[in-house]
Amino acid sequence: MDVIGQLLVSGLILGATYAVVTVGFALIFNIARFFHVMHGAVFTAGAYFAYEGVRRGLPLPVAVLVGMATCALMGIALEVGLHRPLREKGAPSLIFMMASLGLLYVVQNIIAVIWGTDIIRIAYSTGDVTPWQIGPVFVTPMGLATLVAAVVFFVVLWLFLNRTRVGISLKAVGNSVPLAIIVGTDVSRVMVVTLAVGSAAAGLAGILVAMNIGMTPYTGFDVVLLACIAVLIGGVGSLAGAVSGAILLGVIRTVAPIAVSGLWSEFIIFLALFLLMYVRPRGLFGKKVWKSEV
């Protein structure tokens, strides 16, 4: 029982990090309708910007905000400088994805040139880390901070999407671009806001990972792959589904090695995805996106 409790807590913390990056990825996917692979590089860049801020003497909370804000600006630049011109030329989603993939490699290598390929960590404590014991379960201050940061982010995002005019427009465009245009929504503006919010989420997740276990310029690719899987598991078009999918992935990744070797965790994840897609192609909470698109 102690083991199960510890596994669930560890899996939840890992899943919370995945969830933050996945929500940003899902937001962009729901609006732009392509796998925004560059999200992985934004995730990494957020961590490095915050790291640089801390190194230059900024207080940690300020450095975190700087990292997120810079990622939001990256998202805006991507939309204005890359996505919009491609959209205006009628490029298919495959071209968007390939451009995104190419840019991912470019940004990763720029980061490697500037900061090196050595692992970096954002220091959040000068002393020794001591985990707290809650009953039979251990949790570190950073683990708890990750959970709190994720919850706060989701609450703010929910309020933004449901209580602001821009957020509601964003959801409307996600549901149907033609209908949104008919009711007078400025789709270009919504695209910009989506990229900004989604990228800020990626930045926050990157910062949490850099504080918890560290970051290299190449960490982002694996993370964006997990985000893709989480979106498919949770269901395309559903942010709640994306969060659920990400947390499920975190728990699977933590629990699976107890039953089988840890080397098989990727296999278990992809097997789960395959089985789910076979039984329920829409994912756990997916809407009938494909039909509506047709």
């Binding site: 510890q6 090196g116 014991q133 276990i213 560290g214 990744r253 933590t254 840890g262």
Partner: protein
Amino acid sequence: MRKGNIGFVLSSVLAVVALLLSACSQAAPPAPTAAPAKAATTAPAGPATTAAAPATSAAAPAAATTAAASAAAATSAAPAAVIPSVYAIGTTYPLGGVYQSIFKVSTTIPHQIAIDEINAAGGIDGVPVKLIVEDNLGTAAGGVSAMQKLVSVDKVPAIITSMSTATVAQAAVAKDYNTLLINPGAVTDALAGASPWLFSIVPNQSLVKNALLYYFAKQLGHKTIGVIWQNDDLGKGTIAYIKRVAPVVGLQVVGDVAIDPAGTDFSAAAIQAKTWNADIIDLGVTQPIPLVVKAMTDVGLKPKALSSSPGNTTSVGPDVIKLGYGSSILNWYDAVQDYNPQRLGAAAQAYAAKYEKAAGTQVGGPAFNNYEAIYAIKALIEQAKKGGGNFYTGERLRQAMIDLKGNITTPVESFLVNTSDGTCLRPLTIVNVVQDATKTGGYNLSHELQSFTLDQVKAMPR
């Protein structure tokens, strides 16, 4: 038909002439310079060479060889040595990713100190030593690829290796490349007898684990051990060895779990290890150690004793401390070769001081081994040179190790390389990590507990 006959006759005549010429050349008495002349054709093409025969010099290797041959033919003594303009030595280790900081501290700095020392003292008989570094990516394929480049482009006859997986792969092809391999860091048992061209100057892990397991069982009275191992040659060697030897010294293996060496989240493995309730947790792990220790601490796993691959307390320990998990490793034990500068003497103390200044951390086994690797090759060059001719080849350096019967002396220490299987025997010391405000980082990474002499080491069961 007629043309065919003429062709046949001509071919036969040519064949007969060729056979006669061949027979004549075999019948000629063997020239004393034949071996050096042949070796010269495979010698490094890059650096110009100079024959050490009196008043004879040449810019090109071929000319130098001719000069050496002439000098040798004139006397019955060893042929004159063909001296390169620079002794180019290759080395391969990971230059990027998670390995970067580890290898900078354990490898780059020690190599550079040794090279600087040798060249400052006039090189090897006036010839400077140059080190050429290639990235082995920490993989088997990367190791072979780096070796190919060093041999074919840089023409180095000797390479200093690193990491078990890469070294095993390089050992498999060393003969094909006529390249001597000196291993100062890889400790997997798979390297024992892996190639006649590979010589380790670091004890393999079964040797040091012997001492450690013996200490745990006999001195500390521990009964159970669990192993977290990475899925590569080193990890597989570790778990196989512990399963074989632990029962011999009275330890019960209560569990083991494999991890991905490229992973970052090891909480699952740590939680699983916690269920074993083992007295000792052994980490058959190298570069992910800081994150594994972090995961263990995060889930409240603090074994009575923690052990790892030889030398990791000093090479990876500082990273664990930087991560904020210093107190988690206070019961971290290591069985290492004797690298106590105070005991080894003035040269070792001088090196330790230089190293600590450059690396910002205390000197440890890997830092000593890599420093000694350069000097080991220097000793082999000096030995090979005595035989004259084109001595700076992989084959001649390998022969030099055999001629020395594996007895290598560096400025800091002497050790024995078993020339039959390439393994190394050294006196060992059990150390652990204790807090010490007087030391760099606030920790003494090599607090000595017990030493084993070379004879005691030889007597341990394997």
